[in-house]
Amino acid sequence: MASAVIRLPPEQLDRALAHYRAAVAAKRARTALGLTILAAALVLAGIAGEVDLQKFLANIHRLPAYVWNLIPALSWQTLDADIAEWFWDIKGWLSLLPDTLLIAYVGTLMGVAGAFVLCFFASANLEKRNWVRIASRRFLEFCRTVPELVFALLFVIAFGLGAMPGVLALAIHTFGALGKLFAEVVENIDMNPVEGATATGASRVASIRFAVLPQVISNFASYALLRFEINVRSAAVMGFVGAGGIGHDLMVAIRKFYYTDVSAILTLIIATVMIIDLVTERLRHWLIGWEQRT
């Protein structure tokens, strides 16, 4: 099998080469410009953020030392006693963990309830009055942009220390975040069933119940579960500002350098978060499957 490489005439080749070089040079110039801007931003940020590499290098050995201190003294012979000593306050922590989960649960549920009501007013296909839609969207945006810990700080002052401000802060943030997601789900539905329901003379609530809800309910549940996962993590730190849960014990342990307490509480939190993630992931897959079956 003979093959021949087609050679272009020299002048055509030169033109093509020049064109190629110009294109590559333009691309390189753009990359260089981007990198320069990024480098300048980084230098400025380094000055504003008081980055001190010398201090960092002088202190970096403390990090492995810190992690080393977190590891409890366990020996194989006295493993039971060592673990019992590591988790010395297991009863107290194990009563705080369900509280943390309850904070996440109640906060999520309240947020979901609010988002469920408002999302129908924030979706373009079901709410034709512009001002209602825009007002509800701006309200949701406000609720999710203010960090939940800021709400928690305010509520601790208004409602007093305890789990209640934590729950309310989580509820407001969940409301803002889920309201937006729910409204997007509602905007993606098939409008034919809604028209069908309206044509039979159904009221607004009835058409939402029988034409919209069956299309969106599994998506709503899946988003709510995802939010619950996120809220479990947030609930674990609500105690930092006095808003209940295991966070307060963790903060005290870190602040007072009770190393093994820190690792014990962190182990409990990470284990809980992983279990919750696993369970909700199963549930969400089941929900998706259920949606496809029906």
Binding site: G46, G49, K55, V106, T145, P147, A236, V237, V241, I270
Partner: protein, 287 residues
């Protein structure tokens, strides 16, 4: 319309026979749904009881909030505007450096955690569990830990965001890499390139736009995180926010919250424009 209704009603029995599932909803399924809802409500009521909710407390708290909101007007920085602006710059700096450092740390980990780059099961299993553990710890907890290591200040915040982002980016990057097309890599390898060349010229051009857009997205969300890590003392505007809330100076609190909202909105706008510009050139689709 009435004629149609009459016709349908006359044929009612036939309709019922033809669509039994519409007229006789599955009794088990309705019962299951009812039990589920009742269980969820019962748990919520238990939660209200266990977490010391009371209407009296709720009412007095609402009155307090109304008082706070009215005394927030007008928002004003007092004489501390330069201090607040500096803290805001610090917040943005923490978010930027933290995100980029996290991405830089996560890139090699993302390669290690991707099944198609490192075929060794143990390697990517170990890296993934490490990333899971890092992600299981909230950024505020990392901030507290790094305060113990490098002292109070924005540097602790940078390190906290970098480490917690490393966990998230590692996972996202490895997923982007696993979704990439094998053919460019095979093409590069077939020219006799080393494995590193294959990654650089076969893989990176495919996944870079996706990664860059994820980094931008995290920069957005880290601007929010950076506003709160000051609450535990890791630099940024959160420190001032906590202080002003503690001394009940509501005008300044309102001003600080407005500053945060405006900054977050501006960053969101810039980064979403950049992200759309980048993702439109990308090859790999990440769901």
């Amino acid at each position: 319309m009435n004629a149609l209704r009459e016709a349908v009603l006359a044929d009612d029995d036939a309709l019922r026979r033809r669509y039994p599932e519409v007229f006789d909803p599955h009794i088990m399924r309705s019962a299951l749904a009812a039990i589920l809802v009742a269980g969820m409500l019962a748990l919520a009521v238990f939660g209200f009881w266990r977490l010391d909710f009371s209407l009296a407390r709720f009412g007095s708290g609402l009155a307090q909030i109304a008082h706070i909101v009215t005394s927030m007007w007008p928002p004003s920085p007092g004489t501390q505007l330069p201090v607040f602006l500096h803290a805001l710059a610090e917040t943005l700096a923490i978010a930027l450096i933290g995100t980029l450092t996290g991405a830089a740390l996560a890139f090699p980990l993302g390669l290690l955690a991707a099944k198609n780059v490192i075929p060794n099961v143990f390697a990517h299993f170990a890296v993934r569990r490490l990333l899971d553990t890092v992600r299981g710890v909230d950024v505020l907890i990392w901030a507290l830990i790094f305060i113990n290591v490098v002292g109070l200040g924005p540097f602790a915040g940078i390190l906290a965001i970098a480490v917690s982002d490393m966990g998230s980016f590692g996972k996202l990057f490895s997923e982007a890499i696993e979704n990439s097309d094998r053919k460019p890599v095979e093409g590069v390898v077939s020219t006799g390139a080393s494995p590193l060349h294959a990654v650089r010229f076969g893989l990176v051009p495919q996944v870079f736009p996706v990664m860059a857009s994820q980094v931008l997205y995290y920069f957005e969300s880290n601007t929010r995180s950076a506003t709160i890590i000051g609450i535990v003392g890791a630099g940024g505007i959160g420190l001032h926010l906590t202080e002003q809330i503690r001394v009940l100076d509501w005008n300044k609190v309102a001003f600080l919250v407005l500053m945060i909202l405006v900054t977050v909105a501006v960053i969101d706008w810039i980064s979403s424009r950049l992200r759309f510009a980048m993702i439109s050139r990308s090859v790999v689709v990440v769901s």
